[in-house]
């Protein structure tokens, strides 16, 4: 039993990674060669898009490197994989804004970047990203923790043939409080964001510790909202249901989720940011900004920093914005050389016409201190709604 306490998932993952690397190395090198050096290897843990061939292939070719990218669709899972010992597997991690400065840096899961090399890139980004950009810096404002690229408002999406943009913006989160709307809406399977939204529908700021009264209101709201949902599903299901007329609107959503439908010839599918809400400054929308950081890998690949530099180039930033999956604005659109690569159709797909206005109405994605409790309540509400 003395040994059993030393066996941890951390060790297990490390050993697995080593064995996997050994097998991969053995399969790819010629007899007599040593293990593949990390100079030619890069592993990226990211949201979809960065793992696409359009983004990775030119880098692979130019560096003659083996680049592996795994895409996940929620931040907590990615961060917990680093916590569980995969810091020696990954070189880059691409997650939403608060995690680098508030969690990953304090927990030593990521390494700061060379400010001299990377800070100048912020100069050509859109004005709100000028250095020192808050979410790219540590809490003390001394270390550069990552690079910004994709971002967008993310509240809800409507079919404007059914509900006008103006009405949806004015009514805001009360769309979900109107009993007449039961059965007319969907819910995107994005449970961390749905926790934010249930708070907003219940009428309070998600990004703070909640009182017992607020938790009770959250519970009641979660039950009602899930009971009234016609469908809970992924982005494809939401867009298909909106287009087919199964639903009139859905949460969570925004440019990120509506853009594939808009690019496919459905401009009536539109991400909406409410005009007002219960957050500081009367804001009702929430926006995300991705920050890509170098992992605190003891053998960090030098290609990690090279890749971060590579995606800043105007043509590659444009490719990242329109990589497969979802289409999003990128901070590099502040550079005229990058902006001119976007066609009118592409700008329409990402709702460029209202982007600045919508971002102005958004609070930035933050960590919910009592997320675990609220998520458990919401999961139970979803389960109970399924009981009829």
């Amino acid at each position: 039993m003395a040994n059993s306490s030393k066996i941890s998932r951390r060790n297990f993952m490390q050993q697995s990674a080593l064995w996997a690397a050994a097998f991969a190395g053995a399969g790819s090198v010629l007899p007599g060669q040593a293990f593949a050096a990390r100079e030619k290897e890069l592993n990226i843990l990211c949201w979809e898009g960065y793992n696409s061939a359009q983004v990775l292939d030119p880098f692979r070719t130019s560096k003659g490197a083996t680049v592996k990218a795994e895409s996940l669709t929620n931040d907590p899972t990615m961060i917990n994989r680093l916590r569980a010992g995969e810091t020696n597997v990954w070189d880059l991690i691409n997650v939403n804004n608060p995690w680098a400065r508030k969690v990953m840096h304090p927990e030593k899961l990521i390494k700061p970047l060379d400010r001299g090399r990377f800070e100048p890139f912020f100069g050509s980004m859109m004005p709100e990203f000028k250095a020192p950009y808050k979410w790219a810096m540590d809490e003390a404002g001394a270390e550069l923790l990552g690079m910004a690229q994709r971002f967008g408002p993310y509240s809800y999406v409507v079919n404007t043939d059914k509900i006008s943009r103006a009405a949806a913006e004015d009514q805001g989160w009360n769309l979900w409080n109107d009993p007449a709307n039961a059965g007319k809406y969907g819910i995107l399977e994005s449970d961390d964001w749905n926790v934010f939204n249930i708070c907003l529908i219940a009428g309070f700021d998600p990004f703070k510790v909640h009182s017992d009264d607020e938790v009770a209101k959250f519970t009641e709201t979660a039950k009602r909202v899930f009971k009234g949902a016609k469908v809970v599903g992924d982005i494809a299901t939401m867009n298909q249901s909106l287009i087919a007329g199964e639903i009139d609107f859905h949460m969570t959503g925004g440019t990120y989720s509506a853009s594939p439908a808009r690019a496919d010839g459905h401009p009536e599918i539109r991400g909406i940011t409410p005009k007002s809400g219960p957050m500081a400054g009367g804001k009702g929308g929430v926006a995300w900004i991705e920050i890509t950081s170098t992992v605190n890998n003891p053998e960090l690949s030098p290609l990690a920093a090279d890749f971060l530099e590579y995606v800043q180039a105007p043509d590659i930033a444009h490719t990242v914005a329109f990589a497969e999956g979802t289409f999003n604005p990128v901070a590099q659109m502040g550079n005229p050389d990058c902006f001119k690569l976007f066609t009118a159709e592409q700008l329409d797909a990402i709702q460029w016409d209202s982007l600045a206005e919508e971002m102005g109405r958004c609070a930035e994605y933050d960590i919910v201190p009592d997320y675990d409790k609220l998520l458990d309540i919401m999961s139970a509400a979803k389960r109970e709604a399924s009981a009829g």
Binding site: S5, R83, A244
Partner: protein, 280 residues
């Protein structure tokens, strides 16, 4: 104690089974006793995860999974037995080959096939759109409902019921059937007294196979059901992803394994395959 030659030869297989089969299962079982939301095997063992499950509403998901699996198996039996019977009686020895054709859809990902059904069933989709444009009929879609989930499960698991059933029915010797007719049995008596009992090994294997697969189903409820129903597998997925409560997910998995294991053992006690196959 010295190992026999056979025992020594089995060592690699035994080691493989321990590492590849028993070890992951034991890891899941051990992890279910770790403190909630921990990521290490080294915590102080606790029953907290099981307490959370028994005090919470996870029973709803367990009941959904069981009901969906039982319903799917019953419908599959009703659909597949006549088809298998017809295949064997009409095509004789070619029946098994023809049954293989039913497995062709398995080469396409389950999710893609289910999304195909979404396009077929969705409002203004292939079915309702055609009925509307050709006959002016405006019907409500069954998508994102319980019937859609059951339809998806019957569709996905059909080959797993049909194949063993066809095998079971093809094991019934024609001579036995002819003898029963010669002795004056009616068509119903031949089916009830001869064909059904002799084809039971295939039927039971089909039942067990589809039940075990169906109770672990998740995609049908998600894609066709629009999560109007939350099966236990969905609860497990949420625990391992958004909740990042791996010990709770492990405890739910252990309970699911126990429920399935007990039900399968009970079924095997009731329908002893060796007896059916005439080995004792």
């Amino acid at each position: 104690m010295r190992l026999s030659q056979g025992g020594k030869s089995a060592i690699p297989v035994v080691l493989f089974l321990i590492v590849g089969f028993a070890a992951p299962l034991l890891a899941v079982i051990w992890f279910s006793f770790m403190p909630p939301r921990s990521f290490s095997f080294g915590g102080a063992p606790t029953l907290e995860n099981y307490a959370t499950i028994f005090q919470g509403t996870n029973y709803i998901s367990f009941l959904w999974s069981l009901s969906l699996a039982v319903t799917a198996v019953a419908l599959l039996a009703l659909v597949c037995y006549p088809v298998a019977y017809g295949l064997v009686r009409v095509f004789g020895k070619w029946a098994m080959l023809l049954t293989l054709l039913f497995t062709i859809p398995l080469f396409v990902s389950e999710n893609i096939r289910l999304y195909g059904w979404v396009l077929f069933l969705i409002k203004n989709g292939v079915l309702l759109g055609t009925l509307k444009s050709m006959f002016g009929l405006q019907l409500e879609s069954i998508l994102f409902s319980l019937p859609a989930i059951i339809l998806g499960m019957v569709y996905v698991y059909l080959p797993f019921m049909l194949f063993p059933m066809t095998l079971g029915i093809s094991m019934v010797p024609n001579e036995t059937r002819d003898a029963a007719f010669d002795l004056g049995a009616s068509r119903w008596q031949v089916f009830k007294e001869v064909e059904l009992p002799l084809s039971m090994p295939g039927v039971v294997i089909g039942f067990l196979l589809t039940f075990v697969l169906a109770i672990g189903a998740i995609a049908e409820a998600k894609v066709l059901g629009g999560q109007r129903v939350i099966p236990i597998t969905h609860d497990i997925e949420i625990a391992f992803t958004y909740s990042q409560n791996w010990p709770l997910g492990a405890a739910l998995s252990v309970l699911l394994m126990l429920v399935v294991g007990v039900l399968v053992l009970l079924a095997l006690r009731r329908f002893d395959l060796d007896t059916f196959l005439g080995r004792r």
